[in-house]
Each structure stands twice: as structure tokens, then as C-alpha cells.
């Protein structure tokens, strides 16, 4: 209990004094995860809509695999990306290993199945509703996808926020491909892992509380900006 209390106190001081190191790693956490979120959404959302409206032979298999990939251990993703980006690997010449870019890549791979699976279900439900009307109106495939994406936007936002939560708390993959290098690729979660490993529980907890507060702040901001929970809004 002492650790939790002193962790809270330390968290408060770090934030109140705008501790430079804390700001640096917090910003980097946000940078990496938000970038990964945007890129992953750009891939996952149209993919989800496409899977909902297009009928093709292996659709059910693809959807099942997508759902299953949600359970992919991030560490495994990290290892695969490491092997690919390593100098000894096929994409080594890009020199991306141990950079925030590599971390973004790993997180994109982790987030796409999650966002796509969650989004797909909502889009599928909406497609059931809209199906007869859109077919009757002869809209093109592209228009179908855009209409479904726009009208499910609140559910899609939830999917994206689920992705954000997964990403901001992720540590396994970004530890491996980022290397947790001080002033270069260290973020909140890898710093927490480091301090825990050193036995500095109070500091680790402090960073953890900051991380949670950050995640809550981002979620609140998104909800405020999109004005959810207003009367009669869809």
C-alpha cells in the first residue's frame, strides 16, 4: 500500500512540476499511439466496410481470421517486425529499427485486426438495415462503403478508441522494435517496465497513474469533441 500511495504522490508531483522527462516520454507515447491509430483506422475501417458489403468465397474465413488476430500477442508481433527490420533482415536497409517509426509499424499491425473486427460488426448490422434501400437506389460499391462508414461513425469511434486503449498500454512489441532507448524511443509503458525491473515500484506506479490519466483525458476529449450523449443523436 505504501508503494501505491507514494506512487500517487509522485505522479502528482511529476505532473505538477511538468517534469521534463515525463513530458518527453508522455508526448512520445501519444505520438506513437496516435499515429498508429490513424494509420490503422485508415486501413481497418474501409476493410471492415468492404468485408461487410462484398460477398466473396472466403469471406467467412477472412472474418474469422481477423477476429482471431485480435488475440495475437504483441510480443510476437514485435519479434516478427524486429526480424524484418533488423539489419540482417529483408527490410534492414531502411534503417528503421529502434526508431519511433518501427514502433508505429508494430502498433499498426496490432491495432488493425482489433479495429477492423469491432467496426465490422457494427457496419454489418447497419448494412442489414440499409441493404434493400441502397440496392434499390443502385449506389456504387464505393458509395455503399462511404455511406456505411459515415452513418456508423459513432460505433467506429468506439472501435478506434478501443484501439487507442490497446496501443497506449502496449509494451511488448514496442520494447523489442524500439529498444527503449533513452531520449529516442522510450515511452510511458517501456519506462514503467524499466523502473519495475529496477525495483523502483513507486516511480513505476507513478508513471502508470500518469498513463491512465492520459488515456482518460484523451477519451474525454474525443467524446467532448464529437458531442456524444446529446439527445437523439446517432
Amino acid at each position: 500500500m505504501v508503494d501505491i500511495w507514494s506512487g500517487l504522490v509522485q505522479a502528482f508531483w511529476l505532473v505538477a512540476t511538468l517534469d521534463a522527462e515525463l513530458l518527453e516520454i508522455a508526448l512520445r507515447s501519444l505520438e506513437v499511439t496516435l499515429s498508429a491509430l490513424v494509420i490503422a483506422s485508415l486501413i481497418a475501417l474501409p476493410l471492415a466496410a468492404f468485408l461487410a458489403v462484398r460477398r466473396f468465397r472466403f469471406r467467412r474465413t477472412v472474418i474469422a481470421v481477423l477476429n482471431a488476430l485480435m488475440g495475437l500477442p504483441p510480443v510476437v508481433v514485435g519479434l516478427v517486425v524486429y526480424v524484418l527490420l533488423s539489419r540482417a533482415g529483408p527490410l534492414g536497409v531502411l534503417g528503421l529499427l529502434f526508431t519511433p517509426t518501427a514502433m508505429v509499424i508494430a502498433q499498426v499491425i496490432i491495432l488493425v485486426p482489433l479495429i477492423a473486427s469491432v467496426a465490422h460488426q457494427s457496419i454489418r448490422d447497419l448494412w442489414q438495415e440499409y441493404h434493400d434501400l441502397l440496392i434499390s437506389m443502385n449506389v456504387t460499391q464505393g458509395q455503399k462503403i462511404r455511406t456505411l462508414l459515415w452513418d456508423s461513425r459513432r460505433a467506429l469511434l468506439t472501435a478506434a478508441l478501443a484501439g487507442f486503449g490497446r496501443g497506449i498500454g502496449e509494451v511488448g512489441a514496442i520494447m523489442i522494435v524500439g529498444g527503449n532507448i533513452d531520449h529516442a524511443t522510450r515511452v510511458l509503458t517501456t519506462a514503467i517496465a524499466l523502473e519495475t525491473g529496477k525495483g523502483n515500484f513507486a516511480l513505476a506506479l507513478a508513471l502508470g497513474f500518469v498513463l491512465i490519466a492520459l488515456a482518460i483525458a484523451v477519451n474525454l476529449a474525443i467524446h467532448a469533441l464529437s458531442r456524444t450523449e446529446r439527445e437523439g443523436r446517432w
Binding site: A20, L23, E24, G179, I181, D182, K198, G199, F201
Partner: protein, 273 residues
């Protein structure tokens, strides 16, 4: 909200600015034991000042450090496992090994010392006593330099850890995490002195045995061979090596203390081995 935004913006600019100041960078893989000692926080700023060189540290276990060196993902490694190092050089991954400093390993255990290792005449004897009492013992179990040293001592004690059960617990983790586990279960553990001194969670544990020369832990610096990986920054790696064996480094390393205790002994020689 505006203030927060402003602060964040300034912080972002600030980080970008600091990142741009060092003229050159290189990557070095170091072991968790080395990093936990805190010596890096003393050396790196001086290196940056003297050589205008930013050394980016990847803090990993010995095994992973060697893998990174083999893959050419870092420019040099600093580890403490002589046989692994010699293999590394022999296989052509590293150009040579240069001894820099040593610290020592110590045996930590519950302050009640049920196996009575505090009175043991040697490290090997201490381990035999632990085995005899079957007192819980936590091992790094992660193929690190520390772990390999521990295994070699068990071998000398005539015990094979692979067949030790129940009381022998390999955790597959870094030094800090392993110490946490030992603290949590009141177990014995072999640690490097620096990690122990820096460790924050010492409840119920105490340093029980040290000083046997067999427990000395030699750190060596190995530049990755550019013949293998043309892109490694070999010139910078050599520059860093020269600094690490210099008088400045000697002063900093010998002078580094935790709680009044010196940790490392500088023992680099003029010429590379």
C-alpha cells in the same frame, strides 16, 4: 486547456531541439546489470561533452545484446560473459574484445540466512550449503552474463541446475525483476553488486557473502565488425573505445559510488587484446 496546449507544444519543440544537438549518434547494446548500476548516467554526458557523440543504449540481456551485435543492429556491445565474447569475435561478428572494468557478484539472501552462507569460506561452498539445506534460490535463468556465471559456479560445486527442483527457481528475467522475486519469496540469489546497491526493494534481504575472487565480473567492449556489416559506425565505435580506456573514463569509473561504496574497478590496458 490553452496553457496545457502551449506547454505541450513547447515540450515538443524542446525535445526536438535536444535531439538535434549531438552531432553524431551510435547504438550500443549493454546489459541490464550494467545499466542498473547507474554508471551510464555518469559516463554518457561526459562522452557527449568530450566526443560530441550521443551513445544510444539498448538495455537488454547478454543473449539479446549478442544477437543484436550479430545482426548488425548495433555498432558495439558491452557485456560481461567472456566465453560468449570470445565466440562472438571468433565467429567474425566483432573485431576484438577490450576489457574495460570489473565489478563483482555477491550473494543476497534472507537476513535470517538459514543456509548459513555468511560463514562459508568460498563461493562454491556457499552454493553447496544452499543446496544442502534446499533453501529457495532464484536464478536469472535468462542466459545472461550473470546467469552464465551462476551456472559455472554450480558446475564447480558439483551440482547440475537442470536437475535441481522445487527450491531452485529460474525466473527468466532481468536482475531487478529477479531480485523482486527473491524478496517476495525470501530466497537466495546471486546478483551483481551494483544492481543490489541500486535496488529499491530490499525488505528482508541482505548481502550475505562476497569477496571470493571467482566472483569477479569482467566487462568488455566489443565493436561490431564492419566487414560483416558495412553500415555500422566503426569509426565512432573505435572513438568510443579510446575514450572508455582513457584517464577520464578511469577517473569516472573508479570514482563511481553508491552509498559510499565503489562498484567498479577500471582495468583497461593500453593496448587492445
Amino acid at each position: 486547456m490553452k496553457h496545457l496546449a502551449l506547454t505541450l507544444a513547447l515540450a515538443a519543440i524542446g525535445t526536438a531541439a535536444t535531439a538535434a544537438t549531438a552531432a553524431e549518434t551510435m547504438k550500443m547494446a549493454v546489459t541490464t546489470s550494467f545499466h542498473n548500476s547507474g554508471l551510464a548516467d555518469v559516463l554518457l554526458p561526459q562522452i557527449a561533452a568530450d566526443l560530441d557523440l550521443e551513445v544510444q543504449l539498448l538495455v537488454v540481456g547478454t543473449g539479446q545484446a549478442i544477437r543484436l551485435g550479430e545482426a548488425g543492429d548495433v555498432d558495439a556491445i558491452l557485456v560481461h560473459s567472456r566465453s560468449a565474447e570470445e565466440t562472438f569475435v571468433a565467429a567474425g561478428h566483432g573485431t576484438h574484445r577490450r576489457e574495460i572494468m570489473y565489478n563483482d557478484f555477491v550473494f543476497i539472501g534472507p537476513d535470517t540466512d538459514p543456509a548459513n552462507i555468511a560463514e562459508a569460506p568460498s563461493a562454491v561452498e556457499a552454493l553447496q550449503r544452499i543446496a544442502a539445506t534446499e533453501a529457495p534460490f532464484v536464478s536469472r535463468g535468462d542466459d545472461s552474463g550473470t546467469h552464465k556465471k551462476e551456472l559455472s559456479l554450480w558446475a564447480e560445486a558439483g551440482r547440475d541446475p537442470a536437475v535441481l527442483h522445487d527450491w531452485y527457481k529460474p525466473v527468466g528475467a532481468g536482475m531487478g525483476a529477479a531480485l523482486n522475486t527473491a524478496a517476495g519469496m525470501g530466497a537466495y540469489i546471486m546478483s551483481d553488486r551494483a544492481s543490489w546497491l541500486n535496488f529499491g526493494n530490499t525488505d528482508g534481504l541482505a548481502l550475505l557473502f562476497s569477496g571470493d575472487p571467482v566472483l569477479f565480473n569482467q566487462y568488455a567492449y566489443l565493436p561490431v565488425d564492419p566487414a560483416r556489416h558495412a553500415h555500422v559506425k566503426h569509426a565512432l565505435a573505435l572513438k568510443l573505445e579510446d575514450w572508455l580506456v582513457s584517464a577520464t573514463a578511469k577517473e569516472l569509473i573508479d570514482g563511481y559510488e553508491i552509498g559510499g561504496e565503489a562498484l567498479f574497478v577500471f582495468n583497461a590496458e593500453e593496448q587492445a587484446q
